[in-house]
Symmetry: C2
DNA sequence: TTGTAAGCGTTATCAG
DNA sequence: CTGATAACGCTTACAA
């Protein structure tokens, strides 16, 4: 130990990994990280991973399954100990399973295959709750807005919304558009068409911003307010006027649980029964729904 | 090659790294990533790194130099090919140089030592420009607000602000508070004390939010408006009323240049003359400064 | 207790 | 041009 100190020796983790068959690296594949929902996930994953003496290799697939495939190959070849994956839409579960090889995986926010380990919100229930809340405000004509309807979480939320609307004997109206700006325009258009919408549920933080902007534009033409409930709290929710009512996910807790679950799999030879950790969203009542 | 395909052989990167002395891993150490400025940086770094066939190990030190030291140790032992570092405040340059060992490094947003490679905004000039802009609006009593004054970029911005104020024969007033909420309170208090402030420069995106909130509170008591210029554009800047005038950095370009510079160092045995890439900020004129 | 040897999967080198 | 061999730095197992 004295020699270690005096010579400044440091173990070579690469050689250790080759010999020991363990790299202490986990791969984290996300759609992107600029979205505050994802960056918070990544932040918590990084903090929690450190507690296991491991490091994070961060990759983003930009919702592209082809890129995702290449990235899984990188992780396989790097002998990653495990993977946290928020899969791209239209991923083939069978192909994914093959591409993961022997690496244990935990899905986050979106499931990968039916009986896999996953940590995600009760998306459908969250949308149900949001829709119900607007109905309870006496609003009947409610639309929901989302960017990419190929994404599991949004699909589920749409289903939850439609379900409640059906039960209430109301017609559903799903507004879909590829990106940020297009969604704003689409919402704008819907607000001008009959039936005159009284409420809007934005199914993601991106959609919430678009919806906010569209409502604001319209508001200068048609004074009667449109109630809004957003998804995924963002800083701006309390900054805008009116403050936005949102369904929030316990993001930090979910991210940490994901890491813990993954390391349990890594430790225990992966013969554990699959876990599905599905917390509920919380409705944060602010002004935009008409509560305050 | 036929055997490769039929047996499903895949090269083991760990063995390759051990043999070849190159891991195709770069370490990225940031203060955090929840801040949209940093998450955008990380996103671009990830995308650009892929183009060099390498991957990113992401670490965050939370502005703690002790954590940063541990993380550099991790990177050294992992035989990382290079490091991108936004150093924690109060980092000892000599110690840092030692801790980097043989790994080439490029500093981002904050320099590490005097003659090192660095990509960062012309912080001081940006603050000068913001201050000058408010003065040109005829505003004389201008304060600036920041969270952590130990951080290089904020220090520089304060200096730029003070410089212009001095030249204009005005007294400087720097509002400092540890965090988000405390800063909001501090700004709030300053707005109520004499001299009656006419303008405020928030030196970061966090500070911008705090300042916005404080101004809004005050505005209900003291109608005369306070002009605001923020730093680092955020989505919310256009969403709030009034839309916030900001100094924006060419974040994406800076992040990409950082990666390119690093791989030039990695490729060329590190005998290149140190580069300092220092772009200027751009003033985006919106409502909050009184322009529109 | 201390020391030696084998092997992890590559790649570069050197003989055949 | 093909094929065997050594070395990268570590850990583990076994021998002295």
């Amino acid at each position: 130990m004295e020699a270690v100190r005096s010579l400044g020796y440091e173990p070579n983790e690469v050689a250790r990994s080759l010999r020991g068959g363990r790299t202490n690296l986990i791969g984290v594949i996300f759609p992107q990280i600029v979205n505050p929902y994802f960056s918070r996930c990544v932040q918590q994953i990084e903090l929690e991973t450190t507690r296991f003496g491991a490091s994070v290799i961060l990759l983003t697939h930009q919702e592209d399954p082809v890129k995702q495939s290449r990235q899984l190959e990188v992780l396989r070849r790097s002998q990653c100990d495990g993977v946290i994956l928020t899969a791209a839409p239209n991923s083939d579960p069978v192909k994914l399973k093959r591409e993961l090889g022997t690496m244990p995986v935990v899905a986050l926010d979106r499931p990968i295959w039916d009986d896999g380990d996953v940590v995600m919100l009760q998306h459908r229930q969250a949308a149900r709750e949001a829709t119900l809340h607007l109905l309870e405000h006496g609003i009947k004509e409610i639309a929901c807005a989302t960017t990419d309807p190929n994404i599991y979480s949004f699909q589920e939320r749409i289903l939850g919304y439609e379900e409640v609307m059906r039960q209430a004997g109301q017609k559903s109206h799903v507004i879909v558009a590829g990106d940020y700006g297009a969604l704003q325009d689409a919402v704008h258009a819907s607000l001008l068409e009959p039936p005159r919408l009284g409420g809007l549920i934005a199914l993601s933080n991106m959609a919430t911003v678009s919806a906010m902007l569209a409502i604001r534009e319209i508001h200068q033409i048609q004074p009667p307010k449109v109630a809004l409930i957003g998804f995924d709290d963002v800083d701006l929710a309390i900054l805008v006027e009116p403050a936005i009512t949102v369904m929030v996910q316990p993001v930090d807790r979910m991210a940490r649980e994901t890491v813990n679950l993954l390391f349990r799999l890594i430790g225990s030879g992966r013969d554990l029964p699959p876990q599905r950790i599905m917390p509920e969203a919380e409705l944060i009542r602010r002004n935009s729904c008409g509560c305050l």
